[in-house]
Symmetry: C2
Subunit: 196 residues, 2 copies
Amino acid sequence: MLVRLGALQFGMFKLTSGKISPYYIDLRIVPSFPSVFKRICDLYVKLLEEEVGLDSFDRIAGIPTAGIPFASIAAFLLDKPLLYVRKEERVHGRERRIEGVVKPGDKVVVLDDLITTGKSILSAVRVLRGEGVVVEDAVVLIDRMEGGSEKLGEDGVKLHSVASILDIAETLSHSGVITDEQYKAIVRQVKGTIRS
Amino acid sequence: MLVRLGALQFGMFKLTSGKISPYYIDLRIVPSFPSVFKRICDLYVKLLEEEVGLDSFDRIAGIPTAGIPFASIAAFLLDKPLLYVRKEERVHGRERRIEGVVKPGDKVVVLDDLITTGKSILSAVRVLRGEGVVVEDAVVLIDRMEGGSEKLGEDGVKLHSVASILDIAETLSHSGVITDEQYKAIVRQVKGTIRS
């Protein structure tokens, strides 16, 4: 689905960080395709219901901007309050990092589109915990498997992902959408990160 | 509803611009109250269906960050593609101002939470038109009536709002939620803007 939209591409990509990656994901185009958007929102809802558990959280915190459309629909469908936590470098003027209502003791699940190293999610978790909020779970659509899950674990946050880039690459390799070489490049990328 | 949440407050407020206002609106807390959020999303949907017309637009463009939760739900419920247009001063690194898919000739309706002078909406309209997109309508929940509607009109964009601050103030004054003095201060604020 994502490959068909161009949201997931294989080749050689230079990331903003300067790093080279054998694939590229941009989930920000997903909401432009209503039927795919709906299916992906359903996957988030299922993950929240079945893996996190609806009793495990009172509120959903989305990470702007890419995480907000998914977090909005998930909150809407599950009847849970939504808030969002801005990235530190994006706070202008008198803005707060947290927009929306939270109270000390509330259990909040953080929702984003992707996780790579886990830096943005952990930064949101720290801001929330600074307000006395309990954060034990984070959900994403795709885990890029570059150490994010481990980093979150060290801080007591369990990562739930709909799929990892390795799961996706394996499926695409079996069905012939990507070549064996492309698949191996992704395995190397993931292993390289875990080792380093 | 908004007064009960604290999303709409009356008193003397210094806005970020330095201007003094007899009221304060922060719709960013609305998605934290699921039942109010749902009712407000229904109002947007009704406005898009009945005043704009579902055949008048192919896509919905939300304005980050406050407009995105409302735009996401409206797009989801109406089965329309969603995109968003970042404010100019908020574009970092390699980011584009438009996130999501648009093609020349597409008809796009711009959706935000509020309109004051119309500056943010018009800036989004210009970026979209720069891509060959047709923009003839914009929708907001509340029109602060500080010249935004007129500014949009000059650029060929029709503003549709669920309510104006004057409508709201009138209702609240009739039902005794605000004093006569508070109501008059809002009338003066709006008239002062229209005159200047």
